[in-house]
Symmetry: C3
């Protein structure tokens, strides 16, 4: 996938405005919905067992984010992944804080094993912990450089037949087709809660139109975040500018700014 293919995917997303069902955490529900709207998708946040079968029948993708996990959410996430599987819809898993507690690691692994068409999007500590290796996360924040998660990502690709996005100063998009490297974004993005979660949501929007690698989503978010950070005075204005940048992002800007390469 090259920059032209990413631009085409973005145009398709805006044309089709796919419906993305999100079971995400309380903290970022608003951000995730707004990020999806800003990029041109149609978000719905829904978790009720009573409507999930119906919902997955007309949705384009399911995004699962374990940020504020508990027993009830686990049950609903599991059921939703089953419905996505039954309807042949792709699933994006965001294993928030996966290394912080065994509940999160265990749940994330069960959901990953369950999903048939899976993309995993996490920071390095989360990817490392999900693969069962020792990570250095602090709560939901990563303290591992993203390149240290490459081996873990490759393991997850094989173990779950998944595609994996490692977010960080450098993003890595890892699949059976090789590894893409993205050098966009800005460090201040880590000072705003939910930018990773928004990326996972947008990954769901691209998955809904058939781009399940996570590359287009990471590219769009990286470039938009970079533009936003140039305009921002701090994390408050960054959050606002990020939605504006996602909304206004055009093919030229994306092409000019994208720093995309491939690992040999």
């Amino acid at each position: 996938m090259n920059v032209n293919a990413i631009c085409t995917a973005l145009a398709q997303l805006r044309e089709q405005a796919p419906l993305v069902v999100n079971i995400t955490n309380y903290v970022v529900m608003n951000n995730s919905a707004n990020a999806l709207l800003a990029i041109g998708a149609s978000p719905i946040m829904a978790h009720s067992r009573e409507e999930m079968t119906e919902m997955m029948a007309f949705a384009g993708a399911l995004v699962i984010n374990i940020g504020t996990l508990d027993r009830t959410w686990i049950e609903r996430m599991t059921f939703a992944v089953e419905q996505a599987n039954a309807a042949g819809k792709p699933v994006v898993l965001d294993p928030v804080g996966c290394g912080a507690t065994s509940l999160r690691a265990h749940t994330a692994r069960q959901l990953a094993a369950l999903a048939k068409h899976l993309t995993i999007r996490g920071n390095a500590s989360e990817i490392i912990a999900l693969a069962g290796q020792a990570s250095q996360g602090k709560g939901v924040d990563s303290q591992d450089p993203s390149e240290t998660a490459l081996e873990a990502a490759k393991q997850l690709v094989e173990q779950y037949q998944a595609q994996v996005v490692i977010s960080g100063a450098t993003d890595y998009i890892v699949s059976n087709d090789g590894t893409f490297v993205l050098n966009n974004g800005h460090p201040m993005m880590t000072q705003v809660t939910g930018t990773g979660c928004s990326l996972s949501a947008i990954t769901g929007a691209f998955a809904a139109i058939g781009e399940t690698s996570g590359l287009a989503a990471a590219a769009v978010m990286g470039v938009a975040g970079e533009i936003a950070a140039e305009q921002a005075k701090g994390p408050g204005s960054l959050q606002v500018a990020l939605l504006d940048a996602l909304y206004n992002l055009d093919e030229n800007t994306l092409t000019q700014r994208l720093k995309l390469s491939q690992l040999a």
Copy 2:
């Protein structure tokens, strides 16, 4: 109701700062609370059975929004409407995504039937679906032009002795007193999650001071949204500017900008 009456209602709202109890969805709780504060009301988000009777005794109105519905929320919404009825307080119902699943349609109809003093605020697809007609919504987004919901709105007025607001490019305020037409607002408002929900919350604030038609709320939101969109670079800055505009909205601006008419 004309523009002078709307200005008077706004002044009264700011004078009285009514307490509005909201049982709303996780996505927009923050927006709704901020919209109520910005316009001059006093919001509280509460859903516990153990405090709802007490709460409705001193509250001015109850706003129910089914955006992130499940079994637990249905039970609490039902109980809250009963307490609002018992205390003689008006109820605003926002049937989010009503056409998307049968759970939502069924629940919204039960709540509408239960509420004694009811205002319904939804987009065209939601109003059409609530009336049992075939709608073209996509998840929580409407794909029906607002005028196509007029017959459905009239049916709801009769069926539930309700007043109905259809939001869209044109807003329609439908009651036994006829139909008002509002042509304010801006298309970009649909790219921000929760603007409709904020309108429902503000409808509750006006209902609390006796203006239960929803017209004053729709007028205030339409004009503020229009001002905000003129200043915004995208949906991120629109959301911010909307709260500023609600807060700063004065009688002159409202009078000059309001595009209000009545259907013959």
Copy 3:
């Protein structure tokens, strides 16, 4: 504690980036997480019984906020305070809307009695109600001037071996070491939902590095809020500017602007 000690505490907080576990209300989870990130701490919002023991072992502090209370949350808050006690970690309690219903007053008192290392942060009506005196709150908004809560605060200090922050036009920081008075902040901060809750969250961050009086947090929030209000056009832009101001706050600005005194 003087302005130099406050600056030192802020530098330490940014150096250590303590992990703060929050069980807070749905409305402000996003604000609280962003306020903690902006000041330099590492937030996690978690409430599951299954991970709380593990979580409190590596966390620096626990923040409990009863804004959207129900049976389930009470159980989880209680368990979390027990785990914080067992791990010797400080607890910050925000008794949101404490005077509004007996459920809130009762729960807040039980949690206050349970916590071993406790800081209470509330508005005047909440502090007065928590102490069992007659308050004039309207829902979650205070209608009592902050100085009228001083006696109540002193009672709470003794009753719960707590430190107490009363927020308002003037902030009072009350402990066995006497009473500090802060005259920063801006009235428009009350028109943004969750500024008090963000202060409670930041109080948790300072508690995590050993400053449990609440003074440093109130100082930082008051000065940042004041700066934000000078730049804001209304409550929407105030919310954004507040995060920017927290992020950019430096020693010089804090020293120059701080209006700190001590009650005789």
